[in-house]
C-alpha cells in the first residue's frame, strides 16, 4: 500500500481480556517497529523486527506483551490479560532496511487502545 496501515483504529476492551493489534508496513520495507504513546508523551519503543525475527524486544514492558511477524510483512502485537495501564496509542512504523544509520521510519495512524 501507499503507507503503513494499522487495524483496528480504535479498540475498547475489558481488563483481563486479550487483544491483537495489526500492522501492515509499506511494501518492501524489511524493518518494522512498534511504539506505544501515552497521553502527553512521545512514542516509546516496544519492539523492532528485521524481517521475520525480532531484532530488539528490549522495550516490551513485561511478558504479557508479544509480537510476531511470521512472513516478514504484516505484524501483530498481542497483549494478554490487559490492564488499565495498557491504555495508549500503539504506533507501528516501517523503514526500508533497518540496517543503515539515519534511515527514515514511516508511521501508521496508530491503534487507540482503551482498557476499561
Amino acid at each position: 500500500g501507499a503507507g503503513v496501515s494499522q487495524t483496528p483504529s480504535n479498540k475498547v476492551t475489558e481488563k483481563g481480556k486479550y487483544v491483537e493489534l495489526r500492522c501492515d508496513p509499506i511494501s518492501g520495507h524489511t524493518a518494522l517497529y512498534w511504539y506505544r504513546q501515552s497521553l502527553g508523551q512521545g512514542p516509546e519503543f516496544l519492539i523492532y523486527f528485521q524481517g521475520t525475527g525480532a531484532a530488539d524486544d528490549s522495550g516490551l514492558p513485561n511478558d504479557r506483551f508479544f509480537a510476531v511477524r511470521p512472513e516478514g510483512s504484516v505484524s501483530t502485537l498481542k497483549i494478554q490479560r490487559t490492564e488499565r495501564g495498557d491504555s495508549a496509542v500503539y504506533l507501528c512504523a516501517s523503514s526500508l532496511m533497518g540496517r543503515e544509520r539515519w534511515e527514515t521510519q514511516y508511521f501508521g495512524p496508530g491503534t487507540r487502545l482503551l482498557v476499561l
Partner: protein
C-alpha cells in the same frame, strides 16, 4: 539512556507569526528527526539532520542541528493554521533503528 527535552511544551501563536521549537539532548545526537502529529493521525516525517551545523528547509519550516550535535531547533516562518499540531523530535540512539522521542510541543495557530 539518551533523553530528549523539548521546549516549549505548548505554544499558541497568531497566524502569520514566526516561531521556534527546541529539542535538547543529554548526549550527542547521531541522527535527529522531526515529526509532526495530528490527532487521529500518525507521525508525519518532516526532516532528518545528521551533521553538526546542518540546516534543512521544506516550505516554511527550517530545522537546524547545532555544531555540537546536542540541540536542534525547528523554525516556522509565517505560521498558518495548517501548521497546528504536535511536533516531536526523535533521536537515533546509537546508529540504527529504534528512536527515542521527546514529549512533543503542541502548537496552536489562531487566526
Amino acid at each position: 539512556s539518551q533523553e530528549l527535552e523539548q521546549s516549549p511544551q505548548s505554544l499558541i501563536v497568531q497566524e502569520g507569526k514566526n516561531l521556534t521549537i527546541n529539542c535538547t539532548s543529554s548526549k550527542t545526537l547521531y541522527g535527529l528527526y522531526w515529526y509532526k502529529q495530528k490527532y487521529g493521525e500518525g507521525l508525519i516525517f518532516l526532516m532528518m539532520l545528521q551533521k553538526g551545523g546542518e540546516e534543512k528547509s521544506h516550505e516554511k519550516i527550517t530545522a537546524k542541528l547545532d555544531e555540537k550535535k546536542q540541540q536542534s531547533s525547528l523554525h516556522i516562518t509565517a505560521s498558518q493554521p495548517s501548521h497546528a499540531g504536535i511536533y516531536l523530535c526523535g533521536a537515533d540512539k546509537s546508529g540504527n533503528t529504534p528512536l527515542v522521542f521527546g514529549k512533543g510541543t503542541r502548537l496552536s495557530v489562531i487566526a
